[in-house]
Symmetry: C2
Subunit: 160 residues, 2 copies
C-alpha cells in the first residue's frame, strides 16, 4: 500500500503557520529564513498528528540552536540521540516560548509553559506533544545530527 505523503501545499501551509507562530512569539525571520523552515512528517504522512516544524538558527560541530513549532496536538514521536564521533550524543534544552508542550522524558511527564525549560540528557528516550494552541519551543543543544536519531516506531524515517 502506498504511504500517504505530505504535499507541497501542506508544506507551504506549514511554513506559513510556523512563521506566524514565531512572529507571535517575537521571533523575527528574514524571507530566506522563512523559506528554510523544515517540515518534518517523519515519513508517516500524517503531518498534523505526528510531525514537527523546525527553524535552525545555527548548527556548528559544537553547538546548535533551533526553534521547534508544533500544530495544536501535534506530537514529535519518541526518539533518542545516540552517541556519535566520540561524543555521548546530543544533549538538549527545551524552552517553551508560546503555547504549551507536554514533554515525556524516559517516562517522566513534564509540562512546559512559556518561560519554562528542561534539559534532556544524551541518548535518553523522549517525545513531546503540543497543547490545544500549538507550541513554540526553543532548543539549545550540542551539535545536532538529526539523521542519526533513533525512533521507537520502526516505520519512521527522518529525512532532511
Amino acid at each position: 500500500m502506498a504511504r500517504a505523503v505530505t504535499t507541497r501545499e501542506e508544506q507551504r501551509e506549514a511554513q506559513a503557520y510556523a512563521a506566524e507562530q514565531l512572529a507571535a512569539a517575537g521571533v523575527v525571520l528574514t524571507d530566506a529564513e522563512r523559506d528554510s523552515i523544515e517540515v518534518a512528517d517523519f515519513g508517516l504522512g500524517r503531518l498534523r498528528e505526528a510531525g514537527l516544524l523546525v527553524f535552525v538558527y545555527v548548527n556548528t560541530d559544537r553547538y546548535c540552536a533551533k526553534e521547534l513549532i508544533l500544530y495544536p496536538g501535534q506530537t514529535c514521536p519518541e526518539h533518542r540521540h545516540p552517541p556519535f564521533d566520540g561524543t555521548p550524543g546530543k544533549e538538549e534544552t527545551f524552552r517553551c516560548r508560546g503555547g504549551l508542550v507536554h514533554l515525556n522524558v524516559d517516562g517522566e511527564e513534564i509540562v512546559l509553559r512559556p518561560g519554562e525549560q528542561h534539559t534532556i540528557p544524551p541518548n535518553t528516550l523522549h517525545r513531546f506533544q503540543a497543547g490545544d494552541e500549538g507550541a513554540v519551543v526553543s532548543e539549545f543543544s550540542s551539535a545536532s545530527r538529526d539523521d542519526l536519531d533513533v525512533f521507537t516506531d520502526p516505520a519512521i524515517r527522518r529525512t532532511g
Copy 2:
C-alpha cells in the same frame, strides 16, 4: 584613587531595564530568572557606557544560550575567548532580537538588525555596541567560561 562602582540601585535598575527589553522582544522570564540577570560593569564603574546585562538560559559543559541586553550606546569592551580544557575556546553566534548592534570582529564592522546573526570564531578579538535604542541579542555558543575572557583593556576585571 578609589574606583567608582556600580551601586545596588543601579544594578536593580539595570535588571528592570533588561527584563523590560526582553519582554518587548517576546522573551518571557520567570520571577526567579528576572532576579538572576547579571549586571556586568567590567569593574570600570561606568555601566551605561561600558557594560552588559546578561540572562543565561543554560550553560552546560557542551553548550550555552544567553540573552545579552545593552543600554543605548553601551559597549561590551574588546575581548577574546581563549582555548581551555583541550577546546579551541568559546565559539559564539550573535542574533539580534531588538534594537541594533554594531559588532566589530577582528577589525571588521558588522551591523546586526533584528533577524540578523553572525558567528564569531574562538579566540578572536571582538567588541560590540548598541545603537540609540539599545539592543537585545541572543547568544548561542559552546560552553561559556566568562572568567577566562581576555580583555584588551588591562583595567578590566570580569567577575560573576
